[in-house]
Symmetry: C2
Subunit: 141 residues, 2 copies
């Protein structure tokens, strides 16, 4: 039995999900990609090994990986356009349950300007404190 399969089996067992061929190839492909590719980019990459795979399967399995704890979702407030109307520099409190975003004064969370690697030109630094807001804690589930 090849190494890759053995460890993928273990991973699936740990997270309580079934082992399928597309699942394994999807997992390996995602692990091998640089950065944080979009579902379409993942789909294109996986198609090179499984030409018949469908985009729906890619989505279903990415969600399964997130729900079962294999991966974690980035960018909680993805989905709709949000705009900054507050001119004063500040950070954000993002509720992972209701997705509401509120402001947090800058002084509450000091941060030092960093020197970036490889010539990345910094415009601004955005800090999101992700958690559960008082309302959602009170109204559980």
């Amino acid at each position: 039995m090849p190494d890759g399969l053995r460890s993928f089996r273990e991973l699936c067992a740990e997270h309580g999900i079934a082992v399928t061929h597309q699942r394994q190839v999807l997992y390996e492909t995602m692990q091998s990609m640089y950065g944080h590719p979009s579902p379409e980019e993942v789909f294109d990459a996986v198609k090179r090994r499984i030409p018949s795979i469908s985009l729906a399967t890619v989505y279903k399995n990415i969600h399964l990986f997130v729900e079962s704890g294999v991966f974690r979702e980035l960018s909680i407030h993805h989905g709709t356009l949000r705009v900054e109307m507050n001119k004063v520099p500040h950070h954000h409190l993002v509720c992972s349950v209701c997705k509401r975003i509120s402001d947090l004064a800058d002084e509450e969370l000091p941060l030092q300007a960093p020197s970036m690697p490889g010539g990345f030109l910094v415009e601004r630094i955005s800090v999101d404190v992700i958690g559960i807001c008082p309302d959602c804690q009170r109204r559980p589930n």
Copy 2:
């Protein structure tokens, strides 16, 4: 001439955009809303003052406000689902031109755990360094 109109005229003049009734009501409504409402929420609020306004107008004007510098866009990497595959704690470098996301080691940007206001239960802190990546600096436009 009412106060609100005078200052909105000035704001539009500063940013080089025309003054329209829907524009002003939209601006005032957005300013008065708590947090960072979605376009749909803004639409519903504006409809109370201009029942005939269309959602397309809300979108067009929110974009105009962003382009002309009245407001600023939040959440650069909104649009498609992105997943975290890296188990090691780290931050993100987000290119505002090509939207690519890469990882930045934790130690490059030290951060202290804050005490949050009003019983917000913190799960994690997400830091995005937003700017322009070397590739996009090289390939201007």
